[in-house]
Amino acid sequence: MSEHETTAEPGGEPTRRDFLFLTTGMAAVVGGATVAWPFIDQMRPDASTLALASVEVDVSSLSEGMSLTVQWRGRPVFIRNRTEEEVEAAQAVELAELKDPVARNENIPNAEATDLNRSAGEGMENWIVMIGSCTHLGCVPLGQAGDYNGWFCPCHGSHYDTAGRIRRGPAPENLPVPPFEFISDSMIRIG
């Protein structure tokens, strides 16, 4: 609403006037832009969402070769007690063969995508915890399926191996490992 003519009139005092008009116009622009902020700000995750509790999962009933899917921050998290064969198959893979060589493990940032770095760690190699959301476009992959007998996303055909690493298909990254820890032998806290 504060459009204005900045053309100096003959005989006027162009500099002082122009300065006034310019300042007013700038104030209008700054004010308008600032007002836009709350309207955008309100769309960010709100305080209650950000503070969402971590999830504690009892995995004592999960024997070798069994999986569990729990919900964390609105997304599925796969918890799998892998079989010996699965672990061995995953360990046998050379890093060079991987499409994404980064572990994508929030607990050890920037690590290499070895099977150990993808799993729950030394002595816990059989445990793997991943966000079950395909890194392509977010579908939930099927377990123990696909060319590598790991996970297979039916939406667009992404194949993950038994360590949840992307091997073939359109997905760009390995399935992400959320922050988690074993708080006891049978309890995992995710988040």
Binding site: E9, L20, T24, G31, S48, S54
Partner: protein, 284 residues
């Protein structure tokens, strides 16, 4: 033309008077006698006025009064433990504090509900399972939830106070009322009949007496910051705490408001001179 403008302005002012009629008219019993019998007394709150801010020490004491006294009957459903960081507690302190409470969660794998220690994202657990249980334990009167109580109680201000309130920014009706109520219990005057099981309090908004017994007494809560352990002090602290519970963004609101109004005044001044310069080209 000036006349009309001033006329419209005074009209707007009068409209202001009328509209505030609405603001103060609620909750008031107009059949004789009028309640409350006494108007709430004004307390000098730290959060009043354009630069108002909460006194964190006071809020922490108020929290203590709430948890040790009020929480036995009054829920506070909308306040989460994580919000207590506003009171100056660290995340760890909040976790410890929340850990003292048990909340129901579930169902677990077997389909049963179970109790677990509260975390930051849980709200204060209610003392009663439902309003019916609350009423049954409290002589039929449901103790109101405390999340919004400081905004849900306002005693009629009356003319001309409600007009002055616009200019004095008076918005502390709630905490003033709570403080007056908590400190206002007294013996019923001779000849005043009050229903059995109620306590005479001339500051009570809905009658001469209420079902809640005087909840505070000297020394009932131990303060560790040296503040006096008196009913007066407890009452102030818990009133301030309840104001925070009802309006946690008050400080942010007032601070932002100051910036906005300063900007508008500067922008308005610039516009005034721009407009004057442009209009000086013509007779009007």
């Amino acid at each position: 033309m000036k006349k009309l403008v001033s006329g419209l302005l005074s009209l707007a002012f009068l409209a202001g008077l009328a509209m505030s009629g609405a603001a103060f008219a609620q909750e008031e019993e107009h059949e004789t006698p009028h309640y409350p019998l006494h108007k709430p007394e004004h307390v000098d709150w730290s959060f009043a006025g354009p630069f108002g801010h909460y006194d964190k020490g006071q809020l922490q004491r108020g929290l203590k009064v709430y948890t040790e006294v009020c929480a036995a009957c009054h829920s506070m459903d909308r306040v989460a433990f994580r919000n207590l960081e506003d009171l100056g507690y660290s995340e760890d302190q909040v976790r410890t504090l929340a850990g003292n409470y048990e909340v129901e969660d579930g169902p677990d794998a077997g389909g049963d509900m179970f109790m677990r220690p509260a975390t930051g994202s849980d709200t204060f657990p209610a003392p009663f399972a439902n309003p019916e249980a609350a009423a049954a334990s409290n002589g039929g009167a449901v103790p109101p939830d405390f999340s919004l109580i400081a905004k849900a109680r306002a005693v009629e201000r009356g003319f001309p106070n409600f007009v002055f309130d616009i200019f004095t920014m008076y918005a502390e009706n709630g905490p003033d009322y709570i403080h007056s109520l908590l400190t206002g219990y007294e013996e019923a005057p001779e000849g005043t009949e009050i229903p059995q099981g109620t306590y005479y309090n001339p500051y009570y908004i809905n009658g001469p007496s209420l079902a809640m017994a005087p909840p505070l007494s000297e020394g009932i809560v131990t303060y560790d910051d040296g503040a006096p352990e008196t009913v007066e002090q407890y009452s102030r602290d818990v009133s301030a705490f309840l104001m925070w519970a009802a309006e946690p963004h008050l400080e942010e609101r007032k601070a932002l408001g100051f910036k906005v109004i300063v900007f508008l005044l500067i922008f308005g001044t610039l516009l005034y001179f721009t407009k004057k310069t442009i209009w000086s080209r013509i007779e009007h």
